[in-house]
Protein backbone atom coordinates (compact mmCIF):
# COMPACT_ATOMS: atom_id res chain seq x y z
CA UNK A 1 0.00 0.00 0.00
CA UNK A 2 1.67 3.20 -1.07
CA UNK A 3 -1.44 5.31 -0.84
CA UNK A 4 -1.22 6.61 -4.39
CA UNK A 5 -4.39 4.85 -5.66
CA UNK A 6 -6.28 6.27 -2.73
CA UNK A 7 -4.88 9.67 -3.48
CA UNK A 8 -5.98 9.28 -7.06
CA UNK A 9 -9.50 8.37 -6.03
CA UNK A 10 -9.50 11.32 -3.68
CA UNK A 11 -8.43 13.78 -6.33
CA UNK A 12 -10.94 12.25 -8.73
CA UNK A 13 -13.75 12.94 -6.31
CA UNK A 14 -12.38 16.39 -5.80
CA UNK A 15 -12.70 17.03 -9.50
CA UNK A 16 -16.37 16.02 -9.71
CA UNK A 17 -17.27 17.60 -6.38
CA UNK A 18 -18.50 20.90 -7.84
CA UNK A 19 -20.78 19.09 -10.24
CA UNK A 20 -21.93 16.74 -7.54
CA UNK A 21 -22.81 19.72 -5.41
CA UNK A 22 -24.68 21.30 -8.29
CA UNK A 23 -26.66 18.14 -8.95
CA UNK A 24 -27.58 17.74 -5.31
CA UNK A 25 -28.42 21.39 -4.78
CA UNK A 26 -30.24 22.10 -8.02
CA UNK A 27 -31.68 18.73 -8.97
CA UNK A 28 -32.07 16.25 -6.16
CA UNK A 29 -32.92 18.94 -3.61
CA UNK A 30 -35.91 20.33 -5.51
CA UNK A 31 -37.16 16.82 -6.27
CA UNK A 32 -37.12 15.95 -2.58
CA UNK A 33 -38.81 19.26 -1.92
CA UNK A 34 -41.58 18.46 -4.38
CA UNK A 35 -42.06 15.01 -2.87
CA UNK A 36 -42.31 16.69 0.52
CA UNK A 37 -44.75 19.24 -0.79
CA UNK A 38 -47.01 16.52 -2.17
CA UNK A 39 -47.59 15.11 1.32
CA UNK A 40 -47.59 18.38 3.32
CA UNK A 41 -49.58 20.89 1.29
CA UNK A 42 -52.24 21.99 2.10
CA UNK A 43 -52.10 19.74 5.17
CA UNK A 44 -49.83 16.81 6.13
CA UNK A 45 -51.03 13.41 4.97
CA UNK A 46 -51.84 11.52 1.78
CA UNK A 47 -54.86 13.63 0.95
CA UNK A 48 -53.46 14.74 -2.41
CA UNK A 49 -52.94 11.16 -3.47
CA UNK A 50 -56.35 10.10 -2.19
CA UNK A 51 -57.87 12.67 -4.55
CA UNK A 52 -56.74 10.46 -7.43
CA UNK A 53 -59.37 7.96 -6.40
CA UNK A 54 -62.18 10.42 -5.97
CA UNK A 55 -61.67 13.25 -8.45
CA UNK A 56 -63.24 12.71 -11.86
CA UNK A 57 -61.32 15.56 -13.44
CA UNK A 58 -57.97 14.13 -12.28
CA UNK A 59 -58.91 10.73 -13.65
CA UNK A 60 -59.94 12.29 -16.94
CA UNK A 61 -56.67 14.20 -17.25
CA UNK A 62 -54.58 11.14 -16.50
CA UNK A 63 -56.57 9.07 -18.98
CA UNK A 64 -56.20 11.75 -21.69
CA UNK A 65 -52.47 11.93 -21.03
CA UNK A 66 -51.97 8.17 -21.23
CA UNK A 67 -54.13 7.87 -24.34
CA UNK A 68 -52.44 10.71 -26.20
CA UNK A 69 -48.98 9.44 -25.23
CA UNK A 70 -49.76 5.87 -26.25
CA UNK A 71 -51.14 6.92 -29.65
CA UNK A 72 -48.21 9.30 -30.17
CA UNK A 73 -45.78 6.50 -29.35
CA UNK A 74 -47.49 4.09 -31.73
CA UNK A 75 -47.43 6.45 -34.70
CA UNK A 76 -44.00 7.97 -34.03
CA UNK A 77 -42.39 4.54 -33.75
CA UNK A 78 -44.20 3.23 -36.83
CA UNK A 79 -43.15 6.24 -38.95
CA UNK A 80 -39.70 6.25 -37.37
CA UNK A 81 -39.28 2.58 -38.21
CA UNK A 82 -39.94 3.10 -41.89
CA UNK A 83 -37.69 6.16 -42.02
CA UNK A 84 -34.85 4.34 -40.26
CA UNK A 85 -35.36 1.33 -42.52
CA UNK A 86 -35.15 3.47 -45.62
CA UNK A 87 -32.02 5.13 -44.29
CA UNK A 88 -30.23 1.89 -43.47
CA UNK A 89 -31.22 -0.07 -46.54
CA UNK A 90 -31.65 2.64 -49.14
CA UNK A 91 -28.98 4.00 -51.41
CA UNK A 92 -25.96 5.17 -49.44
CA UNK A 93 -26.07 8.56 -51.16
CA UNK A 94 -29.62 9.17 -49.92
CA UNK A 95 -28.75 8.29 -46.34
CA UNK A 96 -26.90 11.52 -45.60
CA UNK A 97 -29.58 13.92 -46.70
CA UNK A 98 -32.23 11.85 -44.95
CA UNK A 99 -30.24 12.00 -41.75
CA UNK A 100 -29.77 15.74 -42.09
CA UNK A 101 -33.51 16.21 -42.58
CA UNK A 102 -34.21 14.22 -39.44
CA UNK A 103 -31.60 16.14 -37.48
CA UNK A 104 -32.79 19.52 -38.73
CA UNK A 105 -36.30 18.85 -37.47
CA UNK A 106 -34.68 17.49 -34.30
CA UNK A 107 -32.97 20.82 -33.68
CA UNK A 108 -35.81 23.18 -34.48
CA UNK A 109 -37.49 24.49 -31.34
CA UNK A 110 -40.74 22.85 -30.34
CA UNK A 111 -42.38 26.27 -30.21
CA UNK A 112 -41.51 27.03 -33.82
CA UNK A 113 -42.71 23.66 -34.96
CA UNK A 114 -45.96 23.92 -33.06
CA UNK A 115 -46.76 27.37 -34.45
CA UNK A 116 -45.93 26.12 -37.94
CA UNK A 117 -48.67 23.53 -37.55
CA UNK A 118 -51.00 26.29 -36.48
CA UNK A 119 -50.29 28.11 -39.74
CA UNK A 120 -50.80 24.97 -41.76
CA UNK A 121 -53.82 23.40 -40.08
CA UNK A 122 -55.75 26.29 -38.52
CA UNK A 123 -59.27 27.24 -39.66
CA UNK A 124 -57.73 29.73 -42.02
CA UNK A 125 -54.54 27.71 -42.43
CA UNK A 126 -52.91 26.68 -45.64
CA UNK A 127 -54.51 23.24 -45.80
CA UNK A 128 -58.08 24.35 -45.14
CA UNK A 129 -57.80 27.32 -47.50
CA UNK A 130 -56.43 25.13 -50.24
CA UNK A 131 -59.08 22.45 -49.80
CA UNK A 132 -61.83 25.06 -49.73
CA UNK A 133 -60.29 26.81 -52.72
CA UNK A 134 -60.51 23.75 -54.93
CA UNK A 135 -63.98 23.07 -53.60
CA UNK A 136 -63.43 19.79 -51.80
CA UNK A 137 -64.77 21.14 -48.52
CA UNK A 138 -67.24 23.91 -47.71
CA UNK A 139 -66.58 24.04 -43.97
CA UNK A 140 -62.99 24.13 -42.66
CA UNK A 141 -61.87 20.85 -41.14
CA UNK A 142 -61.18 21.07 -37.42
CA UNK A 143 -57.57 19.99 -37.27
CA UNK A 144 -56.77 22.19 -34.31
CA UNK A 145 -58.15 22.74 -30.81
CA UNK A 146 -58.77 19.04 -30.43
CA UNK A 147 -56.92 15.81 -29.81
CA UNK A 148 -56.17 15.33 -33.51
CA UNK A 149 -54.16 18.53 -33.55
CA UNK A 150 -52.26 17.57 -30.42
CA UNK A 151 -51.47 14.16 -31.91
CA UNK A 152 -50.28 15.61 -35.23
CA UNK A 153 -47.97 18.02 -33.44
CA UNK A 154 -46.63 15.48 -30.98
CA UNK A 155 -46.04 12.71 -33.52
CA UNK A 156 -44.22 15.15 -35.75
CA UNK A 157 -42.05 16.30 -32.88
CA UNK A 158 -41.29 12.78 -31.67
CA UNK A 159 -40.38 11.06 -34.94
CA UNK A 160 -36.66 11.98 -34.76
CA UNK A 161 -36.52 10.56 -31.24
CA UNK A 162 -37.90 7.30 -32.58
CA UNK A 163 -35.64 7.26 -35.64
CA UNK A 164 -32.32 7.51 -33.84
CA UNK A 165 -32.50 4.43 -31.57
CA UNK A 166 -34.10 2.41 -34.37
CA UNK A 167 -31.34 3.46 -36.73
CA UNK A 168 -28.71 2.33 -34.23
CA UNK A 169 -30.43 -1.00 -33.78
CA UNK A 170 -30.90 -1.65 -37.49
CA UNK A 171 -27.29 -0.87 -38.27
CA UNK A 172 -26.15 -3.72 -36.03
CA UNK A 173 -28.19 -6.34 -37.91
CA UNK A 174 -26.04 -8.75 -39.87
CA UNK A 175 -27.40 -8.49 -43.41
CA UNK A 176 -26.34 -12.08 -44.01
CA UNK A 177 -29.26 -13.11 -41.79
CA UNK A 178 -31.64 -11.57 -44.30
CA UNK A 179 -29.84 -13.33 -47.16
CA UNK A 180 -29.92 -16.57 -45.18
CA UNK A 181 -33.65 -16.27 -44.67
CA UNK A 182 -34.23 -15.75 -48.38
CA UNK A 183 -31.94 -18.61 -49.34
CA UNK A 184 -34.03 -20.81 -47.04
CA UNK A 185 -37.14 -19.99 -49.04
CA UNK A 186 -38.72 -17.16 -47.04
CA UNK A 187 -40.47 -14.38 -48.94
CA UNK A 188 -39.66 -10.75 -48.28
CA UNK A 189 -42.52 -10.30 -45.83
CA UNK A 190 -41.79 -13.57 -44.02
CA UNK A 191 -38.19 -12.48 -43.65
CA UNK A 192 -39.28 -9.14 -42.27
CA UNK A 193 -41.77 -10.45 -39.71
CA UNK A 194 -39.81 -13.49 -38.57
CA UNK A 195 -36.21 -12.34 -38.74
CA UNK A 196 -35.83 -8.60 -39.21
CA UNK A 197 -38.46 -7.27 -36.84
CA UNK A 198 -37.55 -9.55 -33.90
CA UNK A 199 -33.92 -8.54 -34.27
CA UNK A 200 -34.79 -4.85 -34.03
CA UNK A 201 -36.80 -5.41 -30.85
CA UNK A 202 -34.25 -3.67 -28.57
CA UNK A 203 -34.43 -0.62 -30.82
CA UNK A 204 -38.23 -0.74 -30.85
CA UNK A 205 -38.39 -0.91 -27.07
CA UNK A 206 -35.87 1.92 -26.72
CA UNK A 207 -37.70 4.12 -29.21
CA UNK A 208 -41.09 3.43 -27.59
CA UNK A 209 -39.81 4.13 -24.09
CA UNK A 210 -38.07 7.31 -25.14
CA UNK A 211 -41.06 8.67 -27.03
CA UNK A 212 -43.57 7.67 -24.36
CA UNK A 213 -41.57 9.15 -21.50
CA UNK A 214 -40.89 12.40 -23.35
CA UNK A 215 -44.54 12.61 -24.39
CA UNK A 216 -45.72 12.36 -20.78
CA UNK A 217 -44.15 15.72 -19.98
CA UNK A 218 -45.34 17.54 -23.10
CA UNK A 219 -46.58 21.01 -22.37
CA UNK A 220 -46.24 23.43 -25.26
CA UNK A 221 -47.79 21.35 -28.02
CA UNK A 222 -50.98 20.27 -26.18
CA UNK A 223 -51.41 23.78 -24.81
CA UNK A 224 -51.21 25.45 -28.22
CA UNK A 225 -52.65 22.85 -30.58
CA UNK A 226 -55.18 21.56 -28.07
CA UNK A 227 -56.46 25.07 -27.51
CA UNK A 228 -57.21 24.32 -23.85
CA UNK A 229 -59.56 21.51 -24.80
CA UNK A 230 -57.05 18.69 -24.47
CA UNK A 231 -55.81 18.96 -20.92
CA UNK A 232 -52.76 16.83 -20.20
CA UNK A 233 -50.86 16.42 -16.97
CA UNK A 234 -48.10 18.94 -17.66
CA UNK A 235 -50.51 21.69 -18.55
CA UNK A 236 -52.71 20.84 -15.57
CA UNK A 237 -49.70 21.05 -13.26
CA UNK A 238 -48.86 24.47 -14.57
CA UNK A 239 -52.45 25.58 -14.01
CA UNK A 240 -52.32 24.30 -10.42
CA UNK A 241 -49.13 26.20 -9.76
CA UNK A 242 -49.77 29.44 -11.58
CA UNK A 243 -53.54 29.87 -11.44
CA UNK A 244 -55.28 27.91 -8.74
CA UNK A 245 -52.21 27.77 -6.47
CA UNK A 246 -52.89 24.20 -5.36
CA UNK A 247 -49.23 23.29 -5.12
CA UNK A 248 -49.90 20.09 -3.26
CA UNK A 249 -51.92 18.68 -6.15
CA UNK A 250 -49.28 19.82 -8.63
CA UNK A 251 -46.51 18.22 -6.59
CA UNK A 252 -48.53 15.01 -6.30
CA UNK A 253 -48.97 14.82 -10.08
CA UNK A 254 -45.27 15.54 -10.64
CA UNK A 255 -44.35 12.79 -8.18
CA UNK A 256 -46.80 10.46 -9.90
CA UNK A 257 -45.14 11.05 -13.25
CA UNK A 258 -41.67 10.64 -11.81
CA UNK A 259 -42.55 7.31 -10.23
CA UNK A 260 -44.52 6.27 -13.27
CA UNK A 261 -41.47 6.70 -15.47
CA UNK A 262 -39.18 4.99 -12.97
CA UNK A 263 -41.68 2.14 -12.70
CA UNK A 264 -41.81 1.81 -16.45
CA UNK A 265 -38.03 1.60 -16.66
CA UNK A 266 -38.00 -0.95 -13.85
CA UNK A 267 -40.54 -3.17 -15.59
CA UNK A 268 -38.60 -2.96 -18.85
CA UNK A 269 -35.36 -3.79 -17.07
CA UNK A 270 -36.93 -7.08 -15.99
CA UNK A 271 -37.25 -8.06 -19.65
CA UNK A 272 -34.06 -6.71 -21.10
CA UNK A 273 -30.87 -5.01 -20.15
CA UNK A 274 -31.43 -1.28 -20.26
CA UNK A 275 -27.86 -0.81 -21.43
CA UNK A 276 -28.67 -2.71 -24.63
CA UNK A 277 -31.75 -0.55 -25.18
CA UNK A 278 -29.88 2.68 -24.82
CA UNK A 279 -27.04 1.65 -27.05
CA UNK A 280 -24.59 0.35 -24.46
CA UNK A 281 -22.82 -3.01 -24.55
CA UNK A 282 -24.82 -5.79 -26.13
CA UNK A 283 -26.04 -8.56 -23.86
Amino acid sequence: MNGSPLARIGSGWLLVLPFLALVVALFLGPIVDILRLSVTDPEPGLGNYAALMTSDSLARILWTTLRVCAITTLFSVAFGYSIAYAMVHGVRRDRNWMLSLVLVSFWISVLVRTFSWLMLLGRKGLVNEALAGIGIISQPIEFMRNELGVLIGMVHYMIPYAVLPLLASMQTIDTRLVSASRSLGATGSQTFWRVYLPLTRPGLVAASLLVFILSLGFYVTPAILGGGKVLMVAEYISVQILVTLRWGTAAMLAALMLFGVLGLLFVMSRFMKLSTIFGGARA
Binding site: S179, L184, V195
Partner: protein, 334 residues
Amino acid sequence: MSDGAASGGLELKALTKRFGSFTAADNVNLDIQRGEFLTLLGPSGSGKTTLLMMIAGFLDITGGDILLDGSSIAAVPPERRNFGMVFQGYALFPHMSVHQNIAYPLDVRRRPKAEIERRVGEMLDLVQLQEFAHRLPRQLSGGQQQRVALARALCFAPPVLLLDEPLGALDKKLRIEVQAQLKDIHQRVGTTFVYVTHDQEEALSMSDRIVIMQNGRIEQIGTPQELYQRPRTAFAAGFLGKSNFLTANGALHALRPEKIDIAPRGKGKGANRLAGTVRNATYFGSFLKYDVSVVGMDTIEVDVDAWRAGEPIAVGTEVDLSWPDGAAVRLEDN
Protein backbone atom coordinates in the same frame (compact mmCIF):
# COMPACT_ATOMS: atom_id res chain seq x y z
CA MET B 1 -32.46 -39.28 -47.12
CA SER B 2 -31.00 -39.09 -50.60
CA ASP B 3 -33.96 -36.99 -51.69
CA GLY B 4 -31.70 -34.37 -53.22
CA ALA B 5 -30.26 -36.71 -55.82
CA ALA B 6 -33.25 -36.58 -58.15
CA SER B 7 -31.97 -33.30 -59.56
CA GLY B 8 -29.14 -30.90 -59.00
CA GLY B 9 -27.08 -30.74 -62.19
CA LEU B 10 -25.88 -27.17 -62.63
CA GLU B 11 -24.50 -25.62 -65.75
CA LEU B 12 -22.79 -22.24 -65.91
CA LYS B 13 -22.67 -20.86 -69.44
CA ALA B 14 -20.33 -17.97 -70.23
CA LEU B 15 -21.23 -16.55 -66.84
CA THR B 16 -19.94 -13.01 -66.41
CA LYS B 17 -20.20 -10.44 -63.64
CA ARG B 18 -18.89 -6.91 -63.89
CA PHE B 19 -18.90 -4.29 -61.13
CA GLY B 20 -18.36 -1.11 -63.11
CA SER B 21 -15.09 -1.62 -64.93
CA PHE B 22 -14.04 -4.51 -62.70
CA THR B 23 -14.76 -7.98 -64.01
CA ALA B 24 -15.32 -10.30 -61.07
CA ALA B 25 -16.29 -13.33 -63.14
CA ASP B 26 -15.15 -13.55 -66.71
CA ASN B 27 -16.93 -15.87 -69.11
CA VAL B 28 -17.05 -18.87 -66.80
CA ASN B 29 -18.18 -22.18 -68.28
CA LEU B 30 -18.68 -25.02 -65.83
CA ASP B 31 -20.69 -28.22 -65.65
CA ILE B 32 -21.50 -29.35 -62.15
CA GLN B 33 -22.64 -32.96 -62.02
CA ARG B 34 -25.64 -34.06 -60.01
CA GLY B 35 -24.49 -35.22 -56.57
CA GLU B 36 -20.98 -33.95 -57.06
CA PHE B 37 -18.82 -32.29 -54.38
CA LEU B 38 -17.29 -29.44 -56.32
CA THR B 39 -14.93 -26.93 -54.78
CA LEU B 40 -14.23 -23.44 -56.06
CA LEU B 41 -10.69 -22.74 -54.88
CA GLY B 42 -8.82 -19.50 -55.23
CA PRO B 43 -7.28 -16.56 -53.40
CA SER B 44 -9.51 -13.72 -52.26
CA GLY B 45 -10.61 -11.65 -55.22
CA SER B 46 -10.43 -14.62 -57.58
CA GLY B 47 -14.18 -14.52 -58.19
CA LYS B 48 -15.13 -17.73 -56.41
CA THR B 49 -17.56 -16.06 -54.00
CA THR B 50 -19.00 -13.93 -56.83
CA LEU B 51 -19.69 -17.13 -58.72
CA LEU B 52 -21.37 -18.72 -55.68
CA MET B 53 -23.51 -15.62 -55.05
CA MET B 54 -24.67 -15.67 -58.67
CA ILE B 55 -25.60 -19.34 -58.36
CA ALA B 56 -27.47 -18.54 -55.11
CA GLY B 57 -29.26 -15.64 -56.80
CA PHE B 58 -27.96 -12.85 -54.57
CA LEU B 59 -26.02 -11.24 -57.41
CA ASP B 60 -27.50 -10.38 -60.78
CA ILE B 61 -25.54 -11.74 -63.68
CA THR B 62 -24.04 -9.40 -66.24
CA GLY B 63 -23.90 -11.99 -69.00
CA GLY B 64 -24.30 -15.69 -69.65
CA ASP B 65 -26.72 -18.09 -68.04
CA ILE B 66 -27.17 -20.54 -65.18
CA LEU B 67 -29.07 -23.77 -65.87
CA LEU B 68 -30.47 -26.19 -63.31
CA ASP B 69 -31.19 -29.57 -64.87
CA GLY B 70 -31.33 -27.91 -68.25
CA SER B 71 -33.56 -24.91 -67.57
CA SER B 72 -32.41 -21.37 -66.91
CA ILE B 73 -32.71 -20.05 -63.35
CA ALA B 74 -31.01 -16.73 -64.00
CA ALA B 75 -34.25 -14.79 -63.44
CA VAL B 76 -35.44 -16.82 -60.41
CA PRO B 77 -35.12 -14.98 -57.07
CA PRO B 78 -33.02 -16.70 -54.39
CA GLU B 79 -35.99 -17.73 -52.24
CA ARG B 80 -37.45 -19.69 -55.15
CA ARG B 81 -34.24 -21.36 -56.31
CA ASN B 82 -34.54 -23.84 -53.45
CA PHE B 83 -30.80 -24.01 -52.93
CA GLY B 84 -29.47 -24.58 -49.46
CA MET B 85 -26.74 -22.23 -48.40
CA VAL B 86 -24.24 -22.25 -45.54
CA PHE B 87 -22.86 -18.78 -45.00
CA GLN B 88 -19.51 -17.60 -43.82
CA GLY B 89 -20.06 -17.10 -40.08
CA TYR B 90 -23.14 -19.38 -40.38
CA ALA B 91 -25.80 -16.60 -40.22
CA LEU B 92 -27.88 -18.52 -37.69
CA PHE B 93 -30.91 -16.59 -36.44
CA PRO B 94 -29.78 -15.50 -32.97
CA HIS B 95 -33.31 -15.21 -31.56
CA MET B 96 -34.33 -18.75 -32.52
CA SER B 97 -33.40 -22.05 -30.90
CA VAL B 98 -31.50 -24.71 -32.81
CA HIS B 99 -34.80 -26.48 -33.45
CA GLN B 100 -36.47 -23.29 -34.73
CA ASN B 101 -33.51 -22.49 -36.93
CA ILE B 102 -33.60 -25.91 -38.58
CA ALA B 103 -37.39 -25.86 -38.90
CA TYR B 104 -37.37 -22.38 -40.47
CA PRO B 105 -37.19 -23.39 -44.16
CA LEU B 106 -40.11 -25.80 -43.68
CA ASP B 107 -42.03 -23.31 -41.53
CA VAL B 108 -41.92 -20.63 -44.20
CA ARG B 109 -43.10 -23.22 -46.72
CA ARG B 110 -46.10 -23.88 -44.44
CA ARG B 111 -45.49 -27.61 -44.23
CA PRO B 112 -47.60 -29.66 -41.78
CA LYS B 113 -46.41 -29.70 -38.17
CA ALA B 114 -45.87 -33.47 -38.10
CA GLU B 115 -43.68 -33.38 -41.19
CA ILE B 116 -41.62 -30.53 -39.76
CA GLU B 117 -41.09 -32.39 -36.49
CA ARG B 118 -40.05 -35.56 -38.28
CA ARG B 119 -37.71 -33.78 -40.66
CA VAL B 120 -36.06 -31.64 -37.97
CA GLY B 121 -35.55 -34.82 -35.94
CA GLU B 122 -33.82 -36.46 -38.91
CA MET B 123 -31.61 -33.42 -39.39
CA LEU B 124 -30.65 -33.26 -35.71
CA ASP B 125 -29.68 -36.94 -36.00
CA LEU B 126 -27.69 -36.27 -39.14
CA VAL B 127 -25.55 -33.61 -37.48
CA GLN B 128 -25.69 -35.24 -34.03
CA LEU B 129 -27.15 -32.33 -32.14
CA GLN B 130 -30.26 -33.98 -30.66
CA GLU B 131 -29.56 -32.83 -27.12
CA PHE B 132 -28.94 -29.22 -28.19
CA ALA B 133 -32.30 -28.70 -29.92
CA HIS B 134 -33.51 -26.09 -27.46
CA ARG B 135 -30.32 -24.09 -27.07
CA LEU B 136 -29.81 -20.72 -28.67
CA PRO B 137 -27.02 -20.45 -31.26
CA ARG B 138 -24.82 -18.35 -28.99
CA GLN B 139 -24.84 -21.17 -26.43
CA LEU B 140 -23.11 -23.49 -28.92
CA SER B 141 -19.48 -23.89 -29.91
CA GLY B 142 -18.32 -22.84 -33.35
CA GLY B 143 -18.32 -26.40 -34.64
CA GLN B 144 -21.84 -26.99 -33.36
CA GLN B 145 -23.09 -23.76 -34.92
CA GLN B 146 -21.58 -24.88 -38.19
CA ARG B 147 -23.51 -28.14 -37.98
CA VAL B 148 -26.77 -26.30 -37.22
CA ALA B 149 -26.21 -24.15 -40.31
CA LEU B 150 -25.66 -27.31 -42.35
CA ALA B 151 -28.78 -28.99 -40.97
CA ARG B 152 -30.86 -25.87 -41.63
CA ALA B 153 -29.63 -25.66 -45.21
CA LEU B 154 -30.30 -29.36 -45.87
CA CYS B 155 -33.64 -29.57 -44.04
CA PHE B 156 -35.78 -28.85 -47.10
CA ALA B 157 -33.88 -31.36 -49.26
CA PRO B 158 -32.44 -28.83 -51.70
CA PRO B 159 -31.04 -30.18 -54.98
CA VAL B 160 -27.92 -28.05 -54.48
CA LEU B 161 -26.10 -26.97 -51.34
CA LEU B 162 -23.87 -23.90 -51.55
CA LEU B 163 -21.18 -23.48 -48.91
CA ASP B 164 -19.28 -20.20 -48.54
CA GLU B 165 -16.06 -20.84 -46.58
CA PRO B 166 -18.03 -22.62 -43.86
CA LEU B 167 -14.97 -23.71 -41.89
CA GLY B 168 -13.19 -20.37 -41.92
CA ALA B 169 -14.01 -19.56 -38.30
CA LEU B 170 -12.91 -22.90 -36.85
CA ASP B 171 -9.49 -23.76 -35.47
CA LYS B 172 -7.28 -26.10 -37.44
CA LYS B 173 -7.88 -29.27 -35.47
CA LEU B 174 -11.65 -28.88 -35.51
CA ARG B 175 -11.54 -28.01 -39.20
CA ILE B 176 -10.02 -31.38 -40.07
CA GLU B 177 -12.68 -33.13 -37.99
CA VAL B 178 -15.50 -31.19 -39.65
CA GLN B 179 -14.07 -31.89 -43.11
CA ALA B 180 -14.58 -35.59 -42.50
CA GLN B 181 -18.12 -34.99 -41.21
CA LEU B 182 -18.99 -32.84 -44.21
CA LYS B 183 -17.75 -35.47 -46.64
CA ASP B 184 -19.68 -38.14 -44.80
CA ILE B 185 -22.88 -36.05 -44.84
CA HIS B 186 -22.40 -35.35 -48.53
CA GLN B 187 -22.27 -39.06 -49.25
CA ARG B 188 -25.35 -39.74 -47.14
CA VAL B 189 -27.64 -37.05 -48.56
CA GLY B 190 -26.46 -37.23 -52.17
CA THR B 191 -27.02 -33.49 -52.72
CA THR B 192 -24.82 -31.54 -55.09
CA PHE B 193 -22.33 -29.55 -52.98
CA VAL B 194 -20.71 -26.39 -54.33
CA TYR B 195 -18.04 -25.39 -51.85
CA VAL B 196 -16.04 -22.16 -51.83
CA THR B 197 -12.73 -22.00 -50.02
CA HIS B 198 -9.25 -20.53 -50.21
CA ASP B 199 -7.86 -23.43 -48.20
CA GLN B 200 -6.14 -25.98 -50.43
CA GLU B 201 -6.21 -28.71 -47.78
CA GLU B 202 -10.00 -28.48 -47.51
CA ALA B 203 -10.28 -28.61 -51.26
CA LEU B 204 -8.02 -31.63 -51.59
CA SER B 205 -9.54 -33.65 -48.77
CA MET B 206 -13.23 -33.30 -49.62
CA SER B 207 -13.80 -32.58 -53.29
CA ASP B 208 -14.75 -34.81 -56.18
CA ARG B 209 -13.49 -32.04 -58.41
CA ILE B 210 -11.72 -28.77 -57.77
CA VAL B 211 -12.02 -25.60 -59.84
CA ILE B 212 -8.98 -23.38 -59.38
CA MET B 213 -9.88 -19.75 -59.99
CA GLN B 214 -7.84 -16.64 -60.55
CA ASN B 215 -8.83 -13.13 -61.67
CA GLY B 216 -12.41 -14.15 -62.34
CA ARG B 217 -11.41 -16.99 -64.64
CA ILE B 218 -11.17 -20.74 -64.28
CA GLU B 219 -7.51 -21.67 -64.18
CA GLN B 220 -7.94 -25.43 -64.17
CA ILE B 221 -10.59 -28.04 -63.36
CA GLY B 222 -9.93 -31.58 -62.25
CA THR B 223 -9.97 -34.18 -59.51
CA PRO B 224 -7.67 -33.45 -56.56
CA GLN B 225 -5.17 -36.02 -57.91
CA GLU B 226 -5.18 -34.60 -61.41
CA LEU B 227 -4.68 -31.06 -60.17
CA TYR B 228 -1.96 -32.00 -57.74
CA GLN B 229 -0.07 -34.31 -60.06
CA ARG B 230 -0.59 -32.47 -63.34
CA PRO B 231 -1.01 -28.73 -62.72
CA ARG B 232 -1.36 -26.95 -66.02
CA THR B 233 -0.15 -23.50 -65.05
CA ALA B 234 2.35 -22.04 -62.63
CA PHE B 235 -0.54 -20.51 -60.66
CA ALA B 236 -2.26 -23.89 -60.24
CA ALA B 237 1.00 -25.56 -59.27
CA GLY B 238 1.82 -22.86 -56.72
CA PHE B 239 -1.64 -22.45 -55.23
CA LEU B 240 -2.50 -26.10 -54.73
CA GLY B 241 0.35 -27.60 -52.75
CA LYS B 242 3.94 -26.39 -52.92
CA SER B 243 6.06 -26.40 -56.04
CA ASN B 244 9.58 -25.68 -57.18
CA PHE B 245 9.78 -24.07 -60.58
CA LEU B 246 12.58 -25.10 -62.92
CA THR B 247 13.27 -24.12 -66.48
CA ALA B 248 14.29 -27.01 -68.68
CA ASN B 249 14.28 -27.34 -72.48
CA GLY B 250 12.97 -23.80 -72.76
CA ALA B 251 9.81 -24.47 -70.71
CA LEU B 252 8.81 -23.91 -67.11
CA HIS B 253 8.34 -27.07 -65.05
CA ALA B 254 6.77 -27.61 -61.64
CA LEU B 255 8.41 -30.07 -59.28
CA ARG B 256 6.80 -31.01 -55.97
CA PRO B 257 9.22 -30.86 -52.99
CA GLU B 258 8.42 -34.43 -51.89
CA LYS B 259 9.33 -35.88 -55.29
CA ILE B 260 12.96 -34.86 -54.96
CA ASP B 261 15.60 -37.13 -53.42
CA ILE B 262 18.42 -35.54 -51.54
CA ALA B 263 21.79 -37.26 -50.98
CA PRO B 264 25.35 -36.22 -50.17
CA ARG B 265 27.34 -35.14 -53.25
CA GLY B 266 28.09 -38.04 -55.56
CA LYS B 267 25.40 -40.34 -54.20
CA GLY B 268 22.36 -39.12 -56.15
CA LYS B 269 20.70 -41.79 -58.30
CA GLY B 270 17.73 -40.20 -60.14
CA ALA B 271 17.55 -39.64 -63.86
CA ASN B 272 17.59 -35.90 -63.38
CA ARG B 273 20.16 -34.32 -61.17
CA LEU B 274 21.18 -30.96 -59.73
CA ALA B 275 24.08 -30.08 -57.45
CA GLY B 276 23.40 -27.78 -54.52
CA THR B 277 24.18 -26.81 -50.96
CA VAL B 278 21.83 -27.18 -47.96
CA ARG B 279 21.06 -23.72 -46.62
CA ASN B 280 18.44 -24.61 -44.08
CA ALA B 281 16.83 -27.69 -42.54
CA THR B 282 13.53 -27.47 -40.67
CA TYR B 283 11.93 -30.29 -38.74
CA PHE B 284 8.11 -30.56 -39.02
CA GLY B 285 7.58 -33.87 -37.22
CA SER B 286 6.34 -35.91 -40.15
CA PHE B 287 8.75 -34.42 -42.63
CA LEU B 288 12.00 -32.55 -42.92
CA LYS B 289 12.17 -29.48 -45.13
CA TYR B 290 15.50 -28.58 -46.73
CA ASP B 291 16.15 -25.33 -48.52
CA VAL B 292 18.83 -26.08 -51.06
CA SER B 293 20.59 -23.40 -53.04
CA VAL B 294 21.56 -24.32 -56.58
CA VAL B 295 23.85 -22.11 -58.62
CA GLY B 296 21.88 -20.04 -61.09
CA MET B 297 18.43 -20.97 -59.75
CA ASP B 298 15.96 -20.07 -57.04
CA THR B 299 16.27 -21.93 -53.76
CA ILE B 300 14.77 -25.40 -54.13
CA GLU B 301 12.62 -26.89 -51.41
CA VAL B 302 12.92 -30.58 -50.70
CA ASP B 303 10.61 -32.46 -48.31
CA VAL B 304 11.69 -35.84 -47.04
CA ASP B 305 9.97 -38.31 -44.75
CA ALA B 306 11.59 -37.43 -41.42
CA TRP B 307 11.46 -40.86 -39.86
CA ARG B 308 12.85 -42.78 -42.84
CA ALA B 309 15.55 -40.21 -43.52
CA GLY B 310 17.27 -40.77 -40.18
CA GLU B 311 19.82 -38.13 -39.21
CA PRO B 312 19.18 -34.79 -40.92
CA ILE B 313 21.76 -33.55 -43.37
CA ALA B 314 23.76 -30.71 -41.82
CA VAL B 315 23.42 -27.16 -43.08
CA GLY B 316 26.27 -26.35 -45.48
CA THR B 317 26.56 -29.92 -46.82
CA GLU B 318 27.00 -30.21 -50.56
CA VAL B 319 24.25 -32.44 -51.94
CA ASP B 320 22.84 -33.95 -55.09
CA LEU B 321 19.15 -33.43 -55.82
CA SER B 322 17.58 -35.99 -58.10
CA TRP B 323 14.15 -37.02 -59.32
CA PRO B 324 12.72 -39.61 -61.65
CA ASP B 325 11.46 -38.84 -65.14
CA GLY B 326 7.92 -37.56 -65.07
CA ALA B 327 8.22 -36.01 -61.61
CA ALA B 328 8.61 -32.54 -63.08
CA VAL B 329 5.47 -31.32 -64.88
CA ARG B 330 5.78 -29.09 -67.89
CA LEU B 331 3.61 -25.97 -67.49
CA GLU B 332 1.78 -23.93 -70.08
CA ASP B 333 2.79 -20.36 -70.64
CA ASN B 334 0.40 -17.83 -69.24
